[in-house]
């Protein structure tokens, strides 16, 4: 028989996987709908042309990346208060999905920026640079995780870094905005006045990515729980053999 904690881990992992199964159908439908909306439902943007269609996925990923990092912060605070492993698992799963989504944002951004603004990388724009710094902070978070030995200390240190990193974000934003006002930049942000069909497409993409975030986070948490169960099983197998 497995130990009591790992029995509980196995049960929790199974229930998360069940939840994921429920999420897969809406995720599939909404992602298809988001693709349809971005390519067929919305008109071609007058100035930027076809490439503007990447906007829906760019913003959908960006919005959820911020959500993911906010969840890392909250889960880290709860971990330090409650010391329950669930909060740590939630924090790391959320950080992983957040880094994935930020990577999507940083890749789709230049594809869109080159034809629209004439530059791959508008390095004076506070949104661009803050997103890059976010990516750096949470990649550092994941590197910290892989560097520390597996124990309670590791979870605490990661929680501390998750909190410090999130506190830094508004300060990064402010500093880059001030910096930008000093170095004049040609690029100005385009107005947020969207055509109704574009707004609809944006909403569908944001919701689709939110469900994608939930699904991936649950999958990663249940994977970590199953890893623990597997560790115990393989240790027992070694002892008996």
């Amino acid at each position: 028989m497995l130990s009591e904690t790992n029995l509980q881990n196995a049960r929790t992992a199974t229930s998360y996987l069940k939840a994921v199964r429920w999420l897969l159908a809406p995720l599939y439908v909404l992602m298809t709908l988001a693709l349809y909306a971005a390519f067929l439902h919305t008109p071609t943007e007058r100035i930027m042309g076809e490439v503007q269609r990447i906007f829906y996925f760019h913003v959908g990923a960006a919005w959820n990346a911020f959500l993911a990092f906010f969840v890392v912060f909250l889960a880290s605070v709860f971990y330090l208060i409650k010391r329950h492993p669930f909060w740590d698992q939630l924090a790391v799963a959320s950080a992983e999905v957040g880094v994935l989504f930020t990577t999507i944002v940083l890749v789709t951004g230049p594809i869109w920026a080159k034809p629209a603004w004439g530059t791959w990388w508008p390095s004076g724009d506070p949104r661009v640079m803050t997103t890059l710094v976010l990516w750096l902070i949470y990649v550092a978070y994941l590197i910290l995780r892989t560097s520390l030995p597996e124990n309670d200390k590791k979870y605490r240190f990661c929680a501390v870094f998750g909190i410090i990193g999130f506190i830094d974000v508004p300060i990064v934003w402010m500093s880059i905005r001030w910096w930008r006002t000093i170095h004049p930049v040609v690029i100005t942000s385009s107005g947020a006045n969207l055509e109704p069909s574009m707004k609809q497409a944006l909403w569908v993409a944001v919701v689709a990515f939110t469900i994608c975030y939930l699904t991936l986070t649950l999958l990663r948490i249940s994977m970590r729980l199953q890893e623990r169960v597997l560790d115990e099983l393989s240790q027992r197998a070694e002892i008996t053999s």
């Binding site: 710094v133 750096l136 605490r156 240190f157 909190i163 410090i164 830094d168 990064v172 880059i176 910096w179």
Partner: protein
Amino acid sequence: MESIKLIWVLAEKDLRIEFRTRQAFLSTLFFALLVLIVFQFAFDPGSPATQQAAPGILWVALLFPGIIQLNRSFQSEMEEGTLYGIILSPISHGTFFLGKFLANWSFLIAIDLLILVLFIVSFNFPLKLTLLWIVLLIFLASAGFAAVGTLFAAMVSSVATREVLLPILLFPILIPLILAAVNGTQEVLLREEFRFLSQWIKMLAAFDVIFLAASFLVIDHVVGD
């Protein structure tokens, strides 16, 4: 009152060890000098473009040696086993952190001021009273650097790859501090009137207060048990 005395005792212990051995001080100073000289060779020293880049060069030369010092600050404690002695003594973790912070901060200021002199000389900037603004920037920036740096150095002190890990953790967090310090220095060295200097000083002060408070609040979860 009692804890202020304790903080000072802890910081003084570190500074006295450093003063007597001068191990880290001389090697970090020499390293910083090397960074300055490498930049001298990398860029044409006479060109106006190098003058424009000079504030950035100064802060790069201050950051890298700082990382070495922060990594060292817990190293001797780990090697001699004195860390457990301090943790077991009836001193709160917050006091211990502030003592380490104060020692690191003093060390960084001492190194930074010497490097500033070398920088002024090697980049041919005129000696003016306004250079005191850069001294203020150094005081503020090294405080934030030491606050976050001491916290993270405590976290990575037991890891084998700490030499790489500390800058990986620290530099993304320090980006606002670096931006403020470099831009403030740029104003002082290259502009006639300091229109934005107060703004950058405020940002550095805010960074210091926020991260000193945050580090103090979470230090119980890093040191101990």
